[in-house]
């Protein structure tokens, strides 16, 4: 009986000590912490308040934004955490692009963004264009599969984007060369062997 009591005390003592040790270690900074996103950092544009509805200028120019939003899936929101550029994840529109990966058009405050999850890029990617620029040139994300910067390209360049209403095609300018992508239902997809992202994209109406 006495030995059993000692044994339980020993167990309890060990548990308490180990729990304290674990808590002490766990009190350090861990990957589970939600980091603060840069708020008005000098290096990137300020992070404005999240929009509560699709900005009129964006809705007037992009048919996709005039349909019921699907919103970003929870797993994508979890990865993105705090929105940049005032993006409202609930207003995200799935871009039904005939390409590998998943894409969403997400309205922001003064910005229109494409959120993407592709096999060729790490994590979740976001490209945000100012609304005025998006209204004239559309907004697109480019993935170039390679194992890091300066590593050889391992697959075709993939550009997925949304064009403004009335666009028939977009012209992709890359290092003095141009390539044309047809716009279908407001979307464009371009796969080619270029190893560079576009300098710019212009719209043909």
């Amino acid at each position: 009986m006495s030995s059993a009591t000692v044994s339980r005390r020993a167990c309890a003592g060990s548990l308490a000590a180990l729990t304290l040790a674990a808590v002490a270690v766990g009190c350090g900074e861990t990957t589970n912490e939600v980091p603060a996103r840069p708020m008005a950092a000098a290096s990137t544009p300020a992070t404005p308040a999240v929009v509560t509805r699709v900005p009129a200028a964006q809705a007037a120019t992009f048919a996709l934004l005039r349909t019921a939003p699907e919103g970003l899936p929870p797993a994508i929101r979890q990865t993105l955490r705090t929105p940049i550029a005032g993006m409202n994840y609930a207003l995200a529109q799935r871009i039904p692009a005939p390409a590998a990966g998943r894409y969403w058009l997400v309205p922001g405050r003064g910005y229109l963004c494409v959120v993407s999850q592709t096999p060729d890029t790490a994590g979740v990617g976001t490209v945000c264009s100012k609304t005025a620029q998006a209204r004239t040139s559309g907004v697109a994300t480019t993935s170039i599969p390679r194992a890091g910067q300066n590593a050889p390209v391992t697959g075709p360049r993939l550009i997925v984007g949304v064009a403004p209403d009335g666009a028939r095609a977009v012209i992709v300018h890359t290092r003095g060369k141009i390539a044309v992508a047809r716009v279908v239902d407001g979307l464009f997809v371009r796969r080619d062997d270029s190893v560079d992202p576009p300098d710019r994209i212009t719209v043909r109406r």
Binding site: A22, T31, A36, Q78, A122, G123, S129, Q133
Partner: protein, 116 residues
Amino acid sequence: MSFSSRRLMPMLVGAFGALAVILLLALSSPAAKASPFCGGQTVSPNNPCYGAARALNGVNGYGDSHSVCVGADILAGPCSSGPGQIATMNLGFTYTGAPWIADNASGPTVVHGDTF
């Protein structure tokens, strides 16, 4: 309680506890904090700007006059499609490495990057 069980219980508890501590240590890493890199530097094509290695959850970047690609070490994020567009790579986990921002377009551009 027998002699063997008296000895066995603390050993088991100790072993499980040690395992828990080891797991916590393995999963622990410095938290990512907002931290700029390459701010205002002029980057020429195919000559990316690297920031100092750090703990990061993602990388933001944009170029004043050209599109850019962002990443960290061997992790490649998306590329923007024009000047002023923000390209962001969100990893969803903490990674310790050197962030980069690359201008792959024609001609140099001033770039701005930060990690979070």
